[in-house]
Amino acid sequence: MQTHRRRKIEIIVESAILKRTEALLTECGVHVFTVLDGREGRGLAGRWEDENVADALEQRMIVAVTTAEVAEKVFARMAEIFARYPGVIYASDVDVLRAERF
């Protein structure tokens, strides 16, 4: 079966800057992504959990698959955001079936 190599980007940010991050992805040329709610976890500042009140601090994970060139652009732009805001970004190689979708 023919597959194609792409980059999967995973970004975790607070919901306060989710819209800004989504806009950045679109500007960089990411056409498809999915946003997932974070329920609980542990970061450098200790344990966190979704607690129903301060929405702005809830964690959101954005999963996107794109080309290596676009992924590089996304990393450069996200570095500007992470200069002020908390969050993480990482990428890995994935194989996709329909290359034209990403």
Binding site: A45, N52, L57, A83, R84
Partner: protein, 333 residues
């Protein structure tokens, strides 16, 4: 006329406050009791809708009275003044950095809608009759204090500040931020429901009476149960709260209430309305302010302002503040 102690006793034995205490106890005991996220948000929307709608209906009956305009003006002034009061007190009582001081001040500049709702419910229980237009005043007080506090953080952004190497600086007060504070969900529901109440008046109330009045006290109990859980967990979670900071979390609301009382005396507001105005000035936001502050002041430490607003000021106002302010307003005015 009810004195402070009678009012305090009435408040502490009210079901809503007892449910709040139950939530706090369950939270500290690490019970597995949880109110599902979406349900809790639904409860909060219901409370805003009900209080806004009832306020609109009552405002239609009384019209734009001079008292309404006075309270609105006082609310605006308090909202802008409170961040400065909070900033000064917090700076004197702690060694917090400027962004955290300003971020915390923003929380005291805005208001806690649930504290307001609890205050209106308490007034009803105590036989007081604060102006029904106060829900409009509460809506007006949500935003200006947040903007004022951002100026305290170092005006509207300095050149180069907040920029990544090679990146461009961004102003603290951006379109994104204004959208967040002006179109905050609580403000939209509260103002929208007030307008609908104003338009439909008694005819609308006849249709929604059971919904906005019959269910209100029960829903408030459920929501305060949830808030009790949140307050306890906030205090147990990642927090940089010290005893001095916790004390500031009580002194700031008391100063806010005193400022509101002075305004109420100057404007000759009635004591029932003044009591709620004092509560509004004393309350700290934990919905609108965190959202705005995380966008505009991410350098501020949420480990300070959230435990302070949710874990100290909110419980203080619910258990002690609300009857205290009402009692003082009755005694002074």
């Amino acid at each position: 006329m009810a004195d402070v102690f009678t009012l305090a006793l009435q408040n502490l034995t009210a079901p809503a406050v007892l449910f709040f205490a139950l939530g706090v106890l369950a939270g500290f005991a690490r019970s597995d009791l949880t109110i599902p996220d979406a349900f809790a948000k639904g409860l909060s929307i219901y409370l805003l809708l009900a209080i806004g709608f009832k306020g609109g209906v009552a405002a239609q009956a009384t019209g734009l009275t001079p008292e309404f305009m006075s309270a609105l003006g006082l609310g605006l002034v308090l909202s802008v003044a409170m961040p400065f009061v909070a900033f000064t007190i917090l700076r004197a009582m702690s060694s917090l950095d400027r962004p955290t001081l300003a971020a915390t001040a923003a929380h005291y500049g805005s208001i806690s809608i649930v504290t307001f709702v609890a205050s209106m419910d308490f007034a009803k229980l105590a036989g007081l009759q604060p102006g029904a237009y106060l829900s409009a005043v509460a809506a007006v007080m949500e935003t200006p204090g947040i903007i004022a506090a951002l100026f305290l953080a170092g005006s509207a952004g300095k050149p180069g500040e907040g920029a990544a190497p090679g990146g461009k600086a961004e102003p603290r007060i951006s379109g994104e931020l204004l959208r967040e504070v002006l179109l905050n969900g609580s403000v939209v529901v509260l103002v929208g429901a007030f307008a609908i109440g104003l338009i439909t008046g008694q005819r609308g109330m006849a249709r929604l009476d059971l919904f906005v009045n019959g269910l209100f006290a029960g829903v408030l109990c459920l929501f305060l149960l949830e808030m009790g859980l949140v307050a306890a967990r906030r205090l147990q979670g990642k927090s940089r709260l010290t005893l001095r900071l916790a004390a500031a979390g009580i002194i700031v609301p008391l100063c806010g209430a005193a400022l509101a009382l002075a305004g109420a005396v100057a404007l000759r507001l009635d004591p029932d309305t003044a009591g709620v105005m004092m509560t509004l000035a004393a309350s700290a936001s934990y919905i609108a302010a965190p959202a705005a502050v995380r966008i505009a002041l991410p350098e501020g430490d949420p480990g300070v302002y959230l435990p302070l607003a949710v874990g100290v000021t909110f419980p203080f106002n619910i258990a002690i503040g609300i009857p205290l302010y009402a009692g003082i307003a009755q005694a002074v005015l």
